[in-house]
């Protein structure tokens, strides 16, 4: 196989990043890869900027992605797509939820939200895929599935079939939320197909 890669998840505490990165990890394991994932819990979770780092390959040593070596970044919030720019390289793909969550300095009127923030990435020639995950989640009937919309959008950049993800989602979300999550996954997948 020989393939290996690193996926950086970034966003704001409470956006469901951990579940999304779990689904991705299970999908990679199902495909036979070794994997490691780093998370940070505790104080950093209270509405702050959060990341999860997922590395996969034949054999994974370090659980941390090296700067300059994230192949895919899944950003759950627009500004958080740019905060970890030093982790990206020219061939990276950045999948961005276009949702904006105001940080305290913006919410309290001390500064404004950097509206054209994604220009910093596109100017470098890095591929950016925009996903209106919040709106798509609302369309399927549950705004809290925005994270699974993002999983759908990322899924086309990895070799596993949709059925692998669908099986994992079905097994890992409560039965009453299964259909809406599968729809969210399909909606996200359609964006990047």
């Amino acid at each position: 196989m020989g393939a290996q890669g690193s996926i950086l998840f970034s966003g704001v505490g409470g956006q469901g990043i951990l579940l999304a990165s779990e689904i991705m990890a299970y999908a990679l394991l199902a495909a036979g890869y070794d994997a490691k994932k780093s998370e940070v819990h505790g104080m950093a979770q209270r509405g702050g900027s959060v990341t999860a780092q997922l590395r996969y390959g034949d054999k994974v040593y370090s659980p941390l992605i090296e700067p300059g070596r994230a192949d895919i970044q899944v950003a759950f919030e627009m500004m958080e797509a740019v905060r970890y720019l030093p982790y990206l390289h020219k061939g990276s793909t950045v999948i961005v939820n276009t949702q904006k969550i105001l940080p305290p300095a913006v919410a309290t009127g001390q500064t404004s939200y950097p509206e054209s923030v994604l220009d910093h990435i596109t100017a470098l020639g890095i591929k950016v895929v925009l996903v209106d995950a919040f709106d798509l989640a609302r369309e399927v009937g549950e705004v809290r599935t925005a994270n699974v919309v993002m999983v759908g959008a990322v899924s086309t950049f990895l070799p596993m079939d949709a059925s692998v993800y669908e099986g994992i989602i079905s097994a890992r979300v409560p039965a009453r939320f299964r259909d809406v999550n599968l729809q969210a996954f399909a909606a996200g997948r359609k964006v990047s197909q």
Partner: protein
């Protein structure tokens, strides 16, 4: 591709819990602390293991020592600063040794992701004369923990088991193992020469400790987890813990001595390894622990002359430190508004800190979610040192300043932290008489570490009904005469009580009681959010200054202001995000223009 039918995908903490279960642990106690908390949380879900949250790490370790004396395998868990609290029983348990296997897990937090310092707990192994094991990832943690119990019983010693954030909170592939059990028979065994550490007995045990460490040093030379990995001998690395993984990723070709036990060290093995390589590098996070002891053997090596002694390491840091020519060119970071953690929408602490931010007082703070009261816009905390310190520090300031401190010193502590070690501070304040005000932020839960029950919650670790401490009665019992209970969401009423308490000539306690919005009962309860009547907003920003994540400021141009029916000079309006609002009503109390109203139920 290898077929993997049902891989166990677990964090280090989940893997350790499974290992404790498989090792036959019968009693486990600890106090929550990031990054150690999930070990006991997960272990509490296994059948046949007694688990509990103790009021602090010292009690937790003492419970584990008792279980070991009774002949069962026992576990104590804590974060690095918790081991300071538990250091007293630890150092003497080193002398008593064990009956049932006893393992003390300590989780260090290099980089201080969620801690007030980044001490290196390996120094405790040296100081307390105890063996310490150090896994590098979740799979190894699981194997090593089971070995730790065998070592404990074979060598009659507590075993320290050190993990870090990047082991505790890293997920990896795990395999289930066989169930083990202790060969010790549980029961009451009177062994005074071993268990009663008064000087005469302790002197005899002191000799036993030295002999034990000698045997452990011998054992370390052939231990299966101290391993030489052959490779290019121009660079040789001695490393342990997660640093081993960074070395393997940065220098996959190099020869490596990987230590699974960082104390005591296998001197002959290290000497042979050093002789077999051209350049010897010791790669470790935080203190030069291995390096110092290797240099003390008279072996020359590189270590902290190249590798940082602060913060976490990673592959790039290890590579760059050893080989500065290898630096990769990276995209420059972009300056963005910071996104620090914040108290939740509807957090009861916010109401107290809003009031404190408007009072001319020194706020002696403590460890918990409420430490976030330090951050703008409230900026209402002036010191924070360690668990329980708020009360003693306030008393010390009051004594130092005498009358000048009257009405100006407030200490703030959470319910769990108060029970942890704040109570003894309050006893001192009463006994030695100072007039500082103590606010107990009673949100019924240990919140910061992820909502663990505590002795004031009324529930056990398993969520079963338990005694709930009556904090008012407790404060009165230690001699506090002035105890008030307030609802912190009621900002205006709260301010009156705080002002009155500050005028008091004796110590006074205000208990600010409202549950954490993240506890299951609160999540299940019907939430009636508030909303903004935008037309009534005058842009005074009173609500914005709460710093609630559900309230945002929306600037408007003079034209837009006019079109909204505002005065032309109105700079903007505040808006409540009704999805995020938890209905606490603190902002409603601050709005003088009735622009904030409750949704119809």
């Amino acid at each position: 591709m290898t077929e993997r039918t049902d891989p166990l995908w677990m964090s280090g903490n989940e893997a350790i819990a499974l290992a404790a279960y498989e090792a036959g642990v019968k009693v486990a106690s600890g106090y929550p602390g990031t990054p150690s908390t999930e070990i006991l949380e997960n272990l509490s879900r296994y059948e046949g293991v007694y688990t509990e949250w103790a009021p602090n790490e010292k009690v937790g370790l003492e419970v584990a020592i008792g279980a070991s004396f009774a002949g069962v395998r026992a576990l104590a868990t804590m974060k690095h600063v918790g081991l300071n609290v538990a250091a007293d029983p630890l150092f003497t348990a080193s002398y008593t040794g064990v009956r049932g296997g006893l393992v003390v897990i300590v989780a260090d937090d290099p980089e201080m992701h969620s801690s007030q310092n980044e001490q290196d707990s390996r120094n405790y192994a040296f100081a307390a004369k105890l063996p310490m094991l150090e896994p590098s990832d979740p799979a190894e943690a699981k194997e090593l923990l089971k070995l730790a119990f065998a070592i404990s019983e074979e060598y009659d010693t507590p075993v320290l088991f050190r993990i870090t954030t990047r082991i505790a909170h890293v997920k990896g592939v795990i395999t289930k193992g066989e169930m083990l059990s202790s060969s010790v028979t549980p029961g009451i065994e009177k062994m005074p020469a071993k268990f009663v550490m008064l000087p005469g007995n302790a002197r005899a045990r002191r000799v036993v400790v030295e002999e034990r460490m000698r045997l452990l040093r011998e054992m370390a030379e052939n231990a299966p987890y101290n391993v030489v990995e052959m490779g290019d001998s121009r660079r040789g690395f001695i490393t342990s813990s997660v640093s081993y993984l960074y070395v393997k990723a940065a220098f996959p070709e190099a020869k490596v001595l990987k230590l699974g036990m960082c104390w005591p060290l296998p001197e002959q093995m290290i000497r042979d390894f050093a002789n077999s390589v051209d350049q010897l590098y010791v790669v470790e996070e935080l203190d030069p622990f291995l390096e110092l002891h290797i240099k003390a053997m008279g072996i020359a090596c590189h270590g902290k002359d190249l590798i940082p002694n602060q913060g976490e390491l990673n592959t790039a840091i290890v590579r760059k430190s050893i080989d500065p020519t290898s630096v990769a060119e990276l995209f420059a970071p972009v300056a963005l508004p910071m996104r620090p953690p914040n108290m939740c929408a509807g957090c009861p602490h916010r109401g107290i800190f809003y009031n404190l931010s408007r009072m001319k007082v020194f706020v002696s703070g403590d460890i918990g979610c409420y430490t976030l009261g330090f951050l703008p816009p409230l900026s209402a905390m002036d010191s924070c040192v360690c668990m329980g310190a708020s009360v003693g520090i306030a008393h010390g300031m009051a004594k130092a300043l005498g009358d000048d401190a009257k009405g100006k010193i407030v200490s703030v502590i959470g319910d769990s932290t108060f029970i942890h070690t704040g109570l003894s501070g309050l006893i001192n304040t009463v006994y030695n008489g100072s007039s500082s005000l103590l606010i107990i932020l009673d949100n019924r839960i240990t919140a910061m570490t992820g909502q663990q029950n505590n002795p004031a919650s009324g529930y056990s670790i398993k969520g079963e009904a338990a005694n709930a401490i009556d904090l008012e009665a407790l404060c009165r019992a230690v001699g506090v005469k002035h105890v008030d209970v307030v609802n912190p969401h009621d900002i205006n009423a709260c301010r009156k009580v705080l002002d009155k308490a500050l005028e008091c000539d004796e110590v006074s306690v205000v208990i600010a009681r409202a549950p954490c919005v993240l506890i299951p009962e609160m999540k299940k309860a019907a939430n009636i959010p508030y909303r903004t009547q935008v037309a009534s907003c005058t842009g005074c920003m009173a609500c914005v200054r709460l710093g609630c994540p559900a309230i945002s400021w929306n600037p408007v141009s003079p034209e837009k202001a006019k079109s909204l029916g505002y005065k032309e000079k109105q700079k903007g309006f505040a808006l409540i995000n009704e999805v995020q609002c938890n209905g606490c009503g603190q902002c409603r109390a601050l709005c003088k223009f009735d622009a904030i109203v409750r949704q119809e139920a």
